[in-house]
């Protein structure tokens, strides 16, 4: 019974997750904004940032190179904002991005032709709706609860019928 319920939940989750993917990049004035989590940071022999990779909510990994004018605006877990550019903070940004990677803290990269123009905390105004995921959670939750409650009520009916039949059978035996 439990195995069936778990299997039903798992199958529903898998089926709905197929519909739950969503795109992340959006074009704006020639540049492109990508929001996601940092999954890779590459440095040169001096420890300065050369490339970074972002995974968006659709699971796509996008790589960006940087140039001296690339701007950074990253926050610590406590909310302190650090602002710099590649020209002046190319080493510091590496530890900041790795901290984001460890915390799964999302960032927004504005880029042009694969070159990052800015890397900032994820911009709230550029959030993806991710409605597919939201739908998946509510559908799975209610499907799960309704299926289980339906199963319980059916089982209760079957058991009560069996009890009634046996009691009737006992009563008729006693009458005889």
């Amino acid at each position: 019974m439990i195995t069936r319920a778990i299997a039903l939940l798992a199958l529903t989750a898998i089926a709905l997750s197929l519909f739950a993917g969503s795109g992340t990049a959006s074009a704006q004035g020639g540049s492109q904004k990508t929001s996601g989590t940092v999954v890779g940071v590459a440095t040169d022999e001096n420890g300065a940032l050369t490339r970074l990779a972002i995974a968006d909510s659709g699971g796509n990994i996008i790589e960006f190179s940087v140039e001296p004018s690339t701007e950074y605006g990253l926050e610590t877990q406590a909310g302190d904002r650090w602002v710099s550019t590649q020209a002046s903070g190319s080493v510091e940004v590496v530890s900041r991005l790795r901290d984001h990677q460890d915390r799964f803290a999302p960032v927004t990269v504005t880029s042009e032709n694969g070159v990052a123009l800015s890397v900032v905390e994820r911009e709230s105004g550029k959030l993806e709706t991710n409605l597919g995921f939201l739908f998946a959670v509510f559908a799975i939750t209610w499907a799960g609860f309704f299926a289980y409650i339906f199963f319980l009520s059916r089982k209760q009916r079957v058991l009560q019928r069996e009890v009634a039949l046996l009691r009737a059978s006992i009563d008729s035996t006693n009458d005889d």
């Binding site: 439990i2 319920a5 778990i6 939940l9 989750a13 997750s17 739950a20 969503s22 996601g36 989590t37 999954v39 995974a55 968006d56 909510s57 699971g59 877990q77 460890d102 915390r103 799964f104 999302p106 994820r122 709230s124 959030l127 993806e128 709706t129 991710n130 409605l131 995921f133 939201l134 998946a136 959670v137 509510f138 799975i140 939750t141 799960g144 609860f145 289980y148 409650i149 319980l152 009520s153 089982k155 209760q156 058991l159 009560q160 069996e162 009890v163 046996l166 009691r167 059978s169 006992i170």
Partner: protein, 235 residues
Amino acid sequence: MSGIFRASNLLLIITTGLMALTLWMIFFWVPTESNQGNIQRILYIHVPVAWGSMLAIMFVAAASIIYLRTKNEVWDRIAVATAETGVVFGALMLITGMVWARPVWGVWWTGEAKLTTALILFFIYIAYLMFRAYFPPGAQRQRLAAIIGFIGAVDSPIIYYAANLWSQAHPPAVIGPSADGDSAFSSEFGMTLMVATLAFTMLFIYIAWERFAIRETEDALVEIKRTIGEPEPAH
């Protein structure tokens, strides 16, 4: 019996009303969170079902221990009913958490403390029910089941405090004794979460109640079959 079912229907009506209010608050009343956007609305489901799964194991442990002391079958039925309800809430806690994590963290799962201890709780439920299903009935089964339930109960506070003790990606507790009083979860956010938690607690009680009634009928069936000499069903 009929009194129990009348009370159960009343509970269902209250739960349905609270659920409707919860859904209205989630989709029409509470503002969109500025960092995560609409995806944050998942937390109004995820947090209450997580609460339900932890509440269930507390009931399992308490009912099992009381049963061992009193030998009153009612407590054994409560333990089984809440364990099975806990499995449903635990499975939904894991699934809803994973679906939330995918767009926010970029991964379905990480091995951090909060998630791992929550998964352990789910396995404890499975172990408890499998153990009860396959171990021969008797005092030894009840004792060992109570120990499994007790281990699960010990895991619950670890889950609750995990995000605060081992600060990683999972957000820290937003309600309860370890919550930060100045957290963003105040006003509408906090109110929606509280109503959702109340609604899911009522749903938990309703489901456990229904499962308890089934267990009671199963026991009655066993008793009748014992009286007329038919083989007893295993449960």
